[in-house]
Amino acid sequence: MKRFAIPAAIVVALAFVPRLSVDLPYVFQGGLNTPGTLELLALCLLFGGLALSYDLLFGFTGLLSFGHALYFAVGVYIAAIAMTRWHWDFWVSVAFTALVGFLLAIVLGAVSLRVAGIAFAMVTLAFAQAGSILALKNPYNWTGGEEGFGVDYHQLPTWTVGILNTKHLYWIALAYAALVFAVVRWAINSSPGHVWQAIRENELRVQVLGLRPYTYKLMSYVLASVLATIGGIVYLLLLGGANTDVTTASFTLTLLLMVVIGGTGSRWGAMIGGILYTFANHRLGDLSSSHAVSSLPSVIRTPLQQPLFILGVLFILVVFFVPGGLTRIGQVGARLDRILRRPAVQEEVT
Amino acid sequence: MALLSIQDLHVYLGESHVLQGISFDVAEGGVTALLGRNGVGKTTTLRALMGLVDRRGTIRLAGDAIEHVPTHKIVRRGVGYVPEDRDVFSTLTVEENLRLAERDTEPRYDLVHELFPELRERGKQPAGTLSGGQQQMLAIGRALLNDNRVLLVDEPTKGLSPLLVTEVARVLQRVSELTTVLLVEQNLGVVNRVARDAVVLDTGRVVHIGPAKELLADKPMIHRMLGVG
């Protein structure tokens, strides 16, 4: 129980943020308890949780997936469609969405995990791309195509709607991040969790021990995906609508960035990476439209208007000069190296 | 001065301390055999000399330190390598495999064709379709194409029929007249036939250095160090 003392204390401390009317100039545009800042903090916490769910797959089990964002998008879209197109009750929609995420993960995971290494990565990318195409195609006019659609806020619980209730959304995001943290921590310390980490190191050895890596990988995949789907529902609450941004390949890749910047394979690394990335992404956007920047010569100003440019460059610099992320990628990198060189077909030990 | 001088060589593979401070010399001319049971670090030693694994320690080739030199430059100083699994390029033809190995201005095709007439006949054949023995010949031939000062040869008779083993031994004997050889070999008959000196490894350390024939005549010592006999 003592292990949970520090994280629990942090969660409690963060829960008090909406009560603090502290001003942090430059860091945030308003005081800590203003809706704008709370919304940003909520987003940071949400993506921290999402990044950690991705790290469960990538850093702990050693599965390089380019399709994790698909489940997040499922969370956003299915919940939005259920409430807005089918006029379902909020809680029913949430349960349904989680179920869809769960079932989809089992099906897609079962298929994708038949191959490993690069092939697995490509299959997950392909499935995510399929999801993106489906969203754009706008079947039955459900997904709203390229523009997406706003969720019918009559279906949402009243305490989540409206600017005055932003602090409730903040607490939901905090709860999500805490949930992901607790689940991941519990999972990696459980006996399947140890098998996951063994699989990351040396899958052949796991087979020799008489265990089937496939089943364990699938477990990890489904768990991570369901966590992502729940994150999608939270995102829908924060955003108030669904759009195709969450289905793009760029979005999937930014998850990878988050996890690497923070450092893979550690409890805190990915979460911190997600928080920092989201923060930087938004604040750089604000910065680029501020007075200070608009008076700069256009050669400097123009690239700054695209946060992704700065983040991309920053990311390259981090990879070159701080390869540990915030934890230690050096040794994880060497291990994960083997993922990319792993053959598509796992040699069966007879 | 020894042609190859190795001092306090350490190699880590992952967490495992495979070579724990190896030191020995390879004298010029003739064959020096590197012996030991499976897994003691013989192949790793050759790979360390080639720069194919990270290593610490001192390695001198004809007096020049090469422990920090990258593989391709080591090879260009006159080191030939015949790896344990032959590592011929199966999608390339026999001829292309040889051509790839060309370094000198006058590669010694005459020598290679004389020692291995089959390679000339099968020139256009993809190397992957050759038999094990033929691949071994190609691997050795490729190392002989250039006038190397030393050849590092790793278990050339592994998996070959007795007839082919004799053939390889004959080739090694001929080769040893032309250049220095550091030979990793489990087949003691071959060692007895071609080797002048022997170095024995056990779990990452050198446990014996001495003339090969003397060692091979000492049955109890062989049994103790190599677990055979």
Binding site: A126, L340 | L100
Partner: protein
């Protein structure tokens, strides 16, 4: 019948472009073990260079204007690719995951930069009139750009094969795809081949970028990335490191996409490609050519 012919030729035209992109990706991964996410950027850079140079040559007649701009696009694409390898990839030699990450970062950064400078809307490219017209064969009105795409891809295919089979660097690349360590153990510095392979990939991608401006008549910041995803699928289906496998896979993917889009329903073509990937991988994880790095 005429529709079928039109679909087939269009599918082959698309397949031609996929092949051009995928061949570079396949060689780069096969030889270097690098998943080059920045490959799409080579396409984008070539395309935008073409558009930019064209816009500066306003008064010149269309055909020479396009050709000069195309040449500029190719040069810039190739040089950019070579520089990427030298500056970003080579220093990370041996660190595969960092190499992949760096290409991801580059892809995101350059796309953002292009969007920042020229906006996210598509820009129109002026192409020689003939390419926008159609030729009628057996009743099918085939846009002429398709012929150029197919012809170019065939030429590039032969050129690549000639390079691989008849030059020393080609020999080194073929051997390196199979066993890179052994190539260094023969005294060859593979790193020069790395830069060369990146440059070839950049050139092929640049050609695809130029051809795509004929196909779509526009350039936009996202086109490189969307094309490259399909190219990745082609590479995996065809078998990493195999040029012939890539060619076959590109043809199949291009055709499947067109047929499904028409005979099933629009948008289904892209989904069928994904399905195809899934089927191939499950039935034959090593891809069509059976090779896998």
């Amino acid at each position: 019948m005429s529709t079928f012919l039109l679909l087939t030729i269009t599918g082959l035209g698309l397949g031609a472009m996929y092949f051009l992109i995928a061949s570079g990706l396949s060689l780069i991964y096969g030889l270097m073990g690098v998943l080059n996410f920045a490959h799409g950027i080579f396409i984008t850079v070539a395309g935008y260079t073409l558009w930019f140079v064209e816009s500066k040559l306003g008064d010149v007649p269309v055909l020479p204007r396009f050709l000069i701009a195309a040449l500029a696009g190719l040069v810039v694409g190739t040089v950019f690719a070579a520089l990427t390898e030298l500056v970003l990839i080579r220093p990370l030699y041996g660190r595969h995951i960092e190499q992949v990450l760096v290409t991801v970062g580059l892809a995101l950064a350059v796309t953002a930069l292009v969007t920042a400078i020229w906006g996210s809307d598509a820009r129109v490219v002026a192409a020689p009139g003939w390419t926008g017209q159609t030729t009628t064969i057996f009743g099918a009105h085939i846009p002429n750009d398709r012929w150029i795409e197919i012809a170019t891809a065939v030429i590039v295919l032969f050129a690549l094969e000639a390079f691989l089979r008849r030059t020393r660097y080609g020999l080194i690349v073929r051997a390196g795809v199979e066993n890179r360590a052994m190539v260094t153990a023969l005294g060859i510095d593979v790193r020069k081949s790395f830069t060369l392979v990146f440059a070839i990939g950049g050139l092929a991608a640049g050609i695809a970028g130029v051809l795509y401006t004929l196909y779509s008549t526009t350039v936009d910041p996202q086109q490189g990335t969307s094309l490259v995803i399909f190219a990745f699928i082609v590479v995996v289906i065809g078998g990493l490191g195999s040029i012939r496998g890539t060619a076959w896979a590109a043809i199949i993917v291009g055709l499947v996409q067109q047929y499904a889009n028409y005979y099933a329903s629009s948008g289904l073509g892209d989904l069928s490609v994904v399905l195809l990937l899934g089927i191939v991988l499950i039935a034959r994880p090593r891809g069509l050519s059976g090779s896998f790095a």
